[in-house]
């Protein structure tokens, strides 16, 4: 086994089995780090907790809901607004967050009474919102507050409201992934099957494991609408509470982030017989194949092909422009979970970069199996790294850019490695054909940032050139390109809008496809 031992972690020998270097001839039977285990004492993990995984990642992207944390106010604050899962209702769920603000006296005397007061107060403050989620936290779990009982009381007193209770306190698992699992199953057990939807198409899907980061979901919904597919619910980005109660009526579950949402797909398969089709919205080939697969399932592949042809013709010249300039750039792909495999192969094949390392904070070995498979030889795969290991890896690997979260990203910037936000994006959306070009543009802007060039100069030691003008990104990126490439008229940099989501939201001219029943009646 090609384990990699960090110098900084020699004092924590258990860490050695959490990192591997993929050597020549290695495959998954010889090269896979341990994963999804309790953080080893002595290592400072970058993980979130199970409460965060349930609330921040999965629960709160639901848009028409009062999201209440039953616990100290800090739990709420630290899971608020740090991820840009926007929504088309003026970002209600991003603007407002609610906490019962549990204090020491509540720990001693109980917080149920205060919880009920908070629930009623929140509904009264926002009378147009009739749905609520309540999240258990460590403190209220330990004192045994019965949130379900209080929620039941309120729903009895106010029949027009509906409340979902998520019992996923912070200590409920090794990482945020424990919370993903808990909220998936809790939603299925409590809410799925309690609303009957109106079916408007012959082709009905749930879009699962999609969180509408900077509009990703809206981009994908645009494709589905152009194909005449009814998206019954999105779990959960830009999703509506009552739509998600009707998930049991879909014909197909289309699964994007298997890490956070495969549980509900798998259980919907067992309980309701709805099959699971894994797709991948990142990258021209992966996205095109995903649309084709959905089209094949419903017998409407021609509609997918029309979209792929149109979008590829529009955006391929722009992706190619960036690919020429990003060729061979060394990338550390250090996201939280699923993007290490969503992106690992696609960015190498379609943007020409070289992934020298993947890591995951909360992923399971299954995520690493996908990530390691999709990397090339020499890549370093790390599970649940601590900050010192991250720094050591950056010093040794010398990447040109890193894709990660904002905390390790800031560390990387201080080490003068440009960083892109892999969780909330820089200038997303990154899904869709245009989104993929926007991602390439962000990578280009990071790698060739003149600011980063300047920041590499140490004003306490280096001679600062005072006789040269500022460089531009283009001057840096094109310096070594052959003239034929530099001036190739078939390629161009990004020409899309600053905000592509506004146009999608304003769009009304979707094609209308007659239902099968209408066609059969006509025949």
């Amino acid at each position: 086994m090609p384990y990699h031992e960090f110098d900084c972690s020699k004092c924590i020998p258990e860490r050695k089995m959490h990192a591997v270097t993929k050597g020549a001839g290695e495959d998954l039977t010889s090269c896979l780090p341990l994963g999804y285990l309790n953080t080893i004492p002595g290592t400072i993990s970058e993980r979130g907790c199970a409460y965060c995984g349930a609330k921040h990642v999965i629960g709160t992207p639901m848009k028409d809901v009062l999201h209440v944390s039953h616990g100290p106010v800090g739990c709420t604050y630290d899971t608020w607004q740090t991820k840009r899962y926007i929504s088309d209702n003026d970002n209600f769920q991003l603007k407002y967050t609610f906490a019962t603000d549990v204090k020491e006296k509540h720990i001693v005397f109980g917080a149920e009474k205060m919880l009920k007061e908070n629930i009623l107060e929140a509904f009264d403050a926002f009378p147009h919102i009739k749905r609520m989620t309540i999240y258990q936290t460590c403190a209220t779990a330990l004192i045994g507050d019965d949130i379900n009982a209080i929620a039941g009381e309120v729903m009895e007193e106010r029949p027009d409201v509906d409340i979902f209770v998520c019992n996923s306190p912070g200590f409920g698992g090794p990482s945020q992934s424990g919370g993903h699992h808990k909220i998936n199953i809790a939603w299925l057990n409590q809410k799925v099957g309690t609303v009957e939807p109106e079916i408007t198409s012959d082709y009905v899907i749930n879009y699962v494991g999609e969180y509408n980061i900077q509009g990703d979901q809206e981009v994908m919904l645009d494709f589905f609408k152009r194909m005449g597919i009814q998206v019954l619910s999105t779990f959960t980005g830009n999703g509506k509470y009552d739509d998600l109660r009707a998930m049991h009526r879909a014909h197909l579950n289309v699964l994007e982030c298997a890490r956070s949402a495969e549980y509900i797909c798998d259980e919907l398969r067992v309980r309701y017989g709805i099959p699971r089709l894994d797709i991948d919205g990142f990258g021209f080939k992966a996205l095109g194949d995903s649309l084709r697969k959905i089209g094949l399932f419903f017998g409407i592949e021609d509609r997918a092909e029309a979209i792929i042809a149109e979008e590829t013709a529009r955006w391929q010249p722009e992706l190619d422009w960036y690919k020429e300039r990003l060729m061979g750039k060394r990338v550390c792909l250090w996201p939280g979970g699923s993007k290490l495999w969503h992106w690992a192969h696609a960015i190498q094949a379609e943007m020409g970069v070289n992934v020298v390392s993947v890591y995951t904070k909360f992923g399971h070995q299954g995520d690493m199996e996908k990530g390691v498979s999709r990397c090339g030889e020499g890549a370093l795969a790390i599970d649940d790294p601590n900050e010192l290991e991250g720094q050591e890896a950056l010093r040794n690997l010398r990447p040109d850019v890193i894709f990660t979260g904002k905390r390790p990203g800031e560390v990387a910037k201080k080490m003068r490695v440009p960083y892109l936000n892999a969780h909330a994006y820089h200038n997303g959306p990154y899904k869709g054909f245009e989104g993929w070009v926007r991602f390439a543009r962000d990578i280009y802007n990071a790698v060739y940032s003149p600011m980063h060039q300047l920041s590499a100069l140490d004003i306490s030691q280096d001679a600062i050139p005072g006789d040269t003008g500022f460089m531009t990104r283009r001057m840096l990126s094109d310096a070594t390109l052959p003239e034929a490439v530099r001036n190739d008229p078939s390629m161009r940099p990004y020409t899309g809008a600053f905000d592509p989501i506004a146009a999608i939201r304003a769009k009304t001219d979707y094609p209308e496809f007659p239902r099968r029943s209408a066609i059969e009646a006509a025949e």
Binding site: L28, T29, L32, A258, E262, D266, L277, F297, K370
Partner: protein, 140 residues
């Protein structure tokens, strides 16, 4: 309780291989299968469902149907799940036809034999030889 017993049974799936089933295959054929394996591992997700028993079903369903498609046989999809397998099989068969020109010169039996070996290799990589310790967890 019946549900729990079923989960235990499915988690304790039998191992099919105790070593790489392609270890003794001649290098030329091994290289051809390697092309297919590389495509699957870099581009597909269906072989990575979270539990071993589920992977067994996925691999058999999709690669079985891929062999049928490549051999020109009729493929039946009586259940939604088998339809999903067929969808992934169609995509895979198209890629293999495009990338593996040598398939065109093979008979149906030869194709089935090659895909059978590929199936064994994918089972080895993702199930029987896998280092993933979560494959035998009873629940999803």
């Amino acid at each position: 309780m019946a549900g729990k017993e079923k989960n235990v049974a499915r988690a304790n799936y039998p191992k099919l291989y105790t070593s790489d089933p392609l270890a003794e295959v001649e290098p030329e054929l091994r290289a051809k299968i390697g092309e297919m394996e590389n495509y699957i591992m870099k581009n597909c997700l269906w072989q990575f469902n979270s539990r071993g028993w589920d992977r067994r079903t996925q691999n058999a369903g999709i690669l079985g149907k891929t062999a049928q498609l490549l051999a020109g046989e009729e493929v039946e999809t009586p259940t939604p799940m088998e339809k999903c397998h067929w969808v992934d099989a169609v995509m895979l068969a198209r890629e293999f036809r495009e990338r593996c020109a040598w398939l065109a010169g093979m008979s149906g039996d030869e194709i089935r034999a090659v895909i059978g070996k590929l199936h064994a290799r994918i089972d080895w990589l993702t199930i029987d030889g896998s280092l993933n310790q979560e494959l035998t967890v009873q629940n999803y």
